[in-house]
């Protein structure tokens, strides 16, 4: 039995996460012996970094070398805690934070909703209330007057030491912020919000965040224009190449419009699509041109990349990126921004940034799924559903569906163009996260990928396999429609880890690709059935 106070245990690892206790998968994935062996970390690395939560490391947190180092670490944490609870430093989320800290009944009603906790076989270290309760107790004990005395009286004392902080921070990167637990909470408490606030404290006060989402993510995006590192010149060149590809594949000539002032639509893709899944921006270009939409892309800094990693860990980074994207739209005087297939980009721009993007920055923002639905249902494209006559299921990106309520547009499209469309169970606002949410899909850490595939993505994989249980043969090609770049990144890596393409013939891809694949005017199949 793992209690919250155990987080302060000085030595040892809180969980070993044994493979045999993980959520069982259907055949041929039911043999744990066939799982890829976990990466063995070099003893020198293990000496240096803290893996005492579960043996995995997302951040490579250094262990303090001296008692003085440890004292400084604790002091910096307490300084951040004070700021997290202040109106000046945390006006943006103080109310959410305070209410979630104060009103948990410790009823554990939420825990079964968590795909990581259940996917791990109920490993207590991943219980969604574990890190929340630890954090709540630290706030109550070390952030409030008479807190230390009251904590002892209540039986809720936790030692505040380097072990506590190292495990707490790693633990904040064992939650994808999918918010299924928040849905289940009868009090309205939000464990995911608390997780994000923990991440935020470490990032904004102590400068500690995963390098993939900070240095190589939001910092790179603010410096070059994109978290991929592509500057405006590079993105122009790449899109020009894709325009040529479109011609080669379809005989359709398209010149992607750039910086067209007064266009109806400013399309902002997740720039990662351009490099990793170029068929998606190609499909968008084909659809928008065929539908006669007045559209453009922007070559302003950040104006061509919808990602906003700050949403997951840092308010300053979040606001900086959101403002830059809005400035790009404002400069072009477009009628609206349309967010491409990027889940967190949707939520960051349309929801969380809504109350910072006012005045000149308030260009309306709309989901590409809605625009695509309007185009498909309007009959402006000639579509032949028989070209998509293969089993298709739909993954609901948490940010687009559970956090924005965009549920039906993508389904209307699939019902219209995919004769073998079937839902996963559960789906819609009750979906399970892909396991790559909140930045995990781009994070590898030291051995974090082993955890991401074997634990975080397990429930989703089971859901996908179950959705296709009537046609398990790899000879029958199947398609998981995932209208989110982050989710696609997770599926690519998850499928590769388990050999899903080889064993089950399941491919993943976006929504726009399915639409183009169904277009009567295009003779060659647009979907290539090649795993990448």
């Amino acid at each position: 039995m793992l209690r919250p106070s155990d987080i302060a245990t000085q030595s040892g690892q809180l969980s070993k996460v044994p493979a045999q206790t993980l959520l069982p998968l259907p055949a041929p994935y039911d043999d744990f012996a066939t799982l890829a062996p976990r990466k063995v970390l070099d003893p020198k690395v293990l000496e240096r970094i803290d893996t005492s939560l579960d043996g995995f490391s997302a951040l490579g947190i250094s262990r303090p070398l001296t008692p003085e180092d440890e004292r400084q670490l604790v002091d910096r944490f307490l300084s951040g805690l004070e700021k997290l609870l202040s109106k000046e430093d945390n006006w943006a989320f103080l109310k959410q934070l305070q209410l979630s800290l104060d009103h948990c009944a410790r009823c554990q009603t939420c825990v079964e909703a968590c795909p990581i906790y259940t996917g791990s076989g109920h490993d207590e270290v991943y219980r969604p209330t574990f890190r929340s309760e630890v954090f709540r107790r630290l706030v109550n004990e070390y952030g409030k007057p008479q807190g230390r005395l009251l904590a002892r009286l209540k039986g809720e004392h936790i030692d505040l030491n380097a072990a506590t902080l190292g495990r707490l921070l790693e633990s904040a990167y064992r939650c994808t912020l999918c918010r299924r637990c928040a849905q289940a909470c009868p009090m309205g408490v939000d464990n995911a919000l608390l997780t994000r606030e923990i991440r935020k404290l470490f990032s904004m006060e102590m400068g500690i965040a995963p390098k993939e989402i900070h240095e190589k993510g939001s910092m790179l995006q603010l410096r070059t224009g994109s978290s991929t590192g592509m500057n405006a010149r590079a993105v122009h060149d790449n899109i020009e190449f894709l325009d040529e590809e479109i011609h080669d594949q379809t005989d359709i000539t398209i010149k992607t419009p750039w910086d067209k002032e007064g266009a109806d639509v400013l399309l902002i893709h997740n720039a990662g699509e351009i490099l990793a899944w170029p068929e998606n921006p190609m499909a968008f270009a084909i659809i928008l041109e065929a539908a006669g939409i007045s559209w453009t892309m922007s070559s302003e800094l950040v104006g061509y990349d919808s990602v906003n990693y700050g949403l997951w860990y840092d308010d300053a980074q979040f606001a900086r990126v959101a403002v830059k994207q809005a400035e790009a739209a404002s400069k072009l005087k477009v009628k609206k921004i349309v967010l491409g297939e990027c889940g967190h980009g949707h939520k960051a721009s349309m929801v969380t940034a809504d109350r910072i993007l006012t005045g000149d920055l308030s260009t309306p923002r709309e989901s590409a799924l809605v625009l695509l639905r309007d185009i498909v249902m309007s009959g402006r494209l000639k579509l032949d559903p028989s070209k998509n006559n293969f089993p298709v299921t739909l993954h609901d990106p948490c940010n687009i569906v559970r956090m924005m309520g965009i549920v039906e547009p993508q389904r209307e499209i699939l019902r219209a163009i995919c004769p073998q469309f079937r839902e996963m169970t559960p789906h819609g606002v009750n979906n399970y996260c892909c396991g790559g949410g909140s930045g995990f899909a781009v994070m590898s850490g030291y051995n974090f990928e082993d955890w991401r595939f074997s634990v975080a993505g397990r429930m989703k994989l089971k859901q996908i396999l179950d959705a296709f249980d009537d046609c398990p043969s790899p000879d029958i090609k199947k398609y998981v429609c995932a209208p989110c770049s982050n989710c696609k990144g997770q599926f690519r890596d998850l499928f590769r880890y388990y050999g899903v393409w080889e064993k089950s013939g399941i491919l993943y891809g976006g929504l726009a690709e399915l639409i183009v694949n169904a277009m009567s005017d295009i003779s060659e199949p647009f979907i290539k059935w090649e795993f990448h």
Partner: protein, 302 residues
């Protein structure tokens, strides 16, 4: 007399504590949106699957559905039936439901008791008196069984045990003791609640010399009233904020003219976060931090 004083002080602390908590929450800065679907708003068909206005093209040109009827229906169902617990943790539901209904009936019976003692002398209040006595008896019985069941659940159930601390048991034992002394005082032939209300209303002679168990009951009630505002049990009314004000607040700033004003004020707040990429050093406003063009900490001051 002592019990009357205690109860009176406790009632003052109870309402003052609630008022302070409400004021503190209301005075918190305008926050960023963080809604979660399904949200009980909009057309019924859309509510069925948890859809939102974002599903409409050019949603900002469409009228907002500002009706709160569905929210009210949701809240009433949750309060009366504890649907969240029923759906997500069935073994806990019965005991939790019994405890909650014990509390609800206790409050209702108290209110009815107040009505009864305020009636003019000689009024025919037999039915009302019966409702008070039976309501009070049922409240105490349900509450006692619920509290006892929850103590057992918290102590034994593997899902609850690791998170059960002294304070969780204390809260339940406190509530259980209130209900237990209520049951015992009824057994001893008092008419319980009405006498309490009469005592509090200045009719202290009504009951004559109350038994010890009744005095203990009143002292426990007084303690609970003064203790309640400082516990998580305030979720009883703070759900307005956690649900309506946060989880269900999907109102866009374009339809909320106060948002821009609140934002302007917030952006002038001082940021003192110390990480190198912010480094605002107690001097930069949020506006300066956000407008830092490269995220390199231009808000940094010497």
């Amino acid at each position: 007399m002592l019990t009357v004083v205690l109860i009176s002080v406790a009632v003052v602390v109870f309402f003052a504590g609630i008022a302070i908590r409400l004021m503190k929450t209301l005075q918190m800065p305008a926050h960023l949106r963080w809604e979660l679907y399904p949200i009980p708003k909009g057309p019924r068909e859309r509510q069925r699957y948890g859809g939102s206005y974002f599903e409409e093209s050019d949603w900002w040109t469409k009228p907002e559905d500002s009706s709160h009827k569905s929210e009210m229906v949701f809240v009433v169902r949750e309060v009366l039936l504890l649907r969240g617990v029923w759906e997500n943790f069935r073994p806990l539901w019965l005991w939790s439901w019994l405890l909650h209904w014990g509390l609800y009936l206790y409050v209702i019976a108290t209110m009815l008791g107040m009505v009864e003692v305020s009636l003019p002398a000689g009024s025919n209040s037999g039915a009302l008196h019966g409702a008070v006595v039976h309501g009070y008896r049922t409240a105490c019985f349900l509450g006692l069984v619920g509290a006892a069941g929850l103590v057992v659940m918290r102590s034994l159930h593997p899902r609850l045990r690791p998170f059960t601390t002294r304070i969780r048991i204390f809260d339940l034992v406190l509530l259980g003791s209130i209900f237990a002394t209520g049951v015992l005082s009824l057994k001893m032939g008092t008419n319980g609640l009405v006498s309490m209300v009469r005592d509090l209303s200045g009719f202290s002679s009504y009951f004559g010399n109350p038994p010890v168990v009744w005095r203990v009951h009143l002292i426990l009630v007084a303690f609970f009233l003064a203790y309640f505002p400082f516990t998580h049990m305030t979720h009883a009314y703070m759900k307005y904020f956690t649900w309506h004000d946060l989880r269900w607040d999907d109102s866009p700033s374009s339809r909320n003219p106060r948002a821009a004003k609140a934002l302007a004020a917030n952006l002038q707040r001082k940021s003192s976060w110390a990480a190198p990429h912010i480094a605002s050093g107690n001097a930069a406003t949020w506006s300066e931090v956000v407008s830092d063009p490269n995220g390199n900490g231009v808000g940094k001051r010497a």
